[in-house]
Amino acid sequence: MTNAVEIRNIDKQFVLRHTRSIKEAIVWLAKGRKGDLSEKFYALSDVSIDIEQGDTVALLGFNGSGKSTLLKHISGVMLPDSGTVHTRGRVAGLIEVGAGFHPDLSGRDNVFLNGAILGMSEAQINERFDSIIEFAEIGQFIDTEVKFYSSGMYLRLAFSVAVHTDPEVFLVDEILAVGDEPFQRKCIDKIKELAGEGKTLVVVSHDLDLVSRICQRGILLEQGKVRFDGPIDAAVARLRGDG
């Protein structure tokens, strides 16, 4: 099998406190530039992960353990301070669906805009348009501005666009709490279907029961370091045991 994602020894530091005032900067310079102008901490530290094509991986850990940061490195939103990330094929994220939606545009315009933001071409969107609408169960509201949508409709449309992008590597961040229960089940079925088709999935979720149903492999992160990497049940058990 070939790797879909290769992460090699990446570090990422975040600045805790930003100094933006001239006064503080001058004081710092006058003191001979002693110390750091700002405090830093490691969001990711020496992380190396290989994900094979067709793997279904859950990133587990408590809040602030670096899961979402790691996902942002795979999507290219963030660049590591050191180390490298490589991906094969198109990567698309179901990351905070609706990030590219504009409330004043109609549902139709938003499907095109968001589809293009997620990397679809004009022909692909045209081809999948009906399927997107059908999946979202939007019906006649497609030409209404999305600011008039109920929050459920809004999320359904956004999710529907995202699952229709058809990438090789799917990044999923805490989006499975979409809409009412029937639609949630539909979303989960869709994600399972994608996994069944051999797509690579990287999922971040706090819903441990759900990820154990979708994923086979679990990676446990703690303070930016990989603590455990193995079968999902063992990873979940370990996280629960630690908690």
């Binding site: 290769e6 975040f14 990330v85």
Partner: protein, 286 residues
């Protein structure tokens, strides 16, 4: 290393402006979004793009042309004034929006990777679309004043627009990326734009500058791409409405327009260079 294998790419490392060209479809959608959103909920809608420059023109014309008497010293001062104003308006709107574009689209940039150059470029493009109605008004005025341009003069207008457009994208990339780290950047741009109107011969005519600054000072004044753009527009839209006795800046076609193109291209290159150095940390700084 496996990076040599085919098919593996490093996410987040784009090709800059070349990627913008590759994502033309997205660029077009971003531009049309801006255009749709701009005048939402207003009765006049796109008419505002005519009304605002129209009022601005009348104010300047009355204050400068009539009160200060510039109208008496120059044929068709109204056309002269307006042909400069439309170009400066284009530049001001383009740069002001481009400088804010990255911060304003922070929500998206933080979550999804896409060529971020799209946002400043889309801002400039939107301004170019708003430039069209102003251009229509200018042409109307030109025809009323008996405009009969030569092909060369039309080429000069296109070149002038290109000079200013490249300058706006270059500075937009620079100030837009700097704005992520220091919000001083957008305020600095506002100040710069206030200067821009007066640092080019929009309200006054170029011989006044040469008489005050001398030849060396005037040569420095002339290297400003915006000045060259405005002079190219005067040459294309105002000069053909006069009887031809008015003076065109020396060497405008042979020297200054090429200089303007080169200076703007260099600024565009430097803007892109700065942008690429700074964009790696956009997601965590926004």
């Amino acid at each position: 290393m496996s990076s040599a294998e085919s098919g593996l790419v490093r996410p987040g490392f784009g090709a800059g402006l070349a990627d913008v060209f590759r994502s033309r479809f997205l660029l077009r959608l971003l531009v049309s979004k801006e255009l749709k959103v701009r005048y939402r909920g207003s009765v006049l809608g796109l008419l505002w793009s005519y009304v605002k420059p129209g009022v601005q023109f009348v104010v300047f014309y009355v204050a400068l042309g009539l009160f200060l008497g510039l109208e008496r010293g120059m044929q068709n001062y109204a056309v002269y004034l307006f042909s400069g104003i439309v170009l400066i308006n284009f530049f001001s709107e383009a740069l002001a929006n481009a400088a804010r574009s990255i911060v304003n689209n922070g929500g998206l940039i933080k979550k999804i990777y896409l060529p971020r150059e799209l946002f400043p470029v889309a801002s400039v493009w939107v301004s170019a679309v708003h430039f069209v109605p102003q251009m229509a008004v200018l042409l109307l005025g030109c025809f009323m004043a008996g405009w009969h341009p030569s092909l060369l003069q039309l080429v000069a207008a296109v070149a002038g627009f290109l000079v200013v457009g490249m300058l706006a994208i270059g500075l937009g990339l620079f100030f837009g990326s700097a704005n992520v780290y220091f919000r001083d950047s957008e305020n600095f741009v506002d100040m710069l734009l206030m200067l821009a109107t007066w640092a080019s011969p929009v309200m006054y005519s170029w011989p006044m500058v040469r008489n005050q600054l001398g030849d060396v000072g005037f040569a420095i004044y002339q290297t400003n791409p915006l000045t060259i753009g405005v002079e190219a527009f005067h040459y294309a839209f105002w000069y053909p409405t006069t009887d031809g006795t008015a003076a065109v800046p020396p060497n405008l076609l042979a020297l200054w327009i090429p200089v303007g193109l080169v200076v703007s291209a260099v600024i565009l290159f430097l803007g892109q260079l700065t942008f690429r150095r700074l964009e790696g940390r956009f997601a965590q700084e926004l």
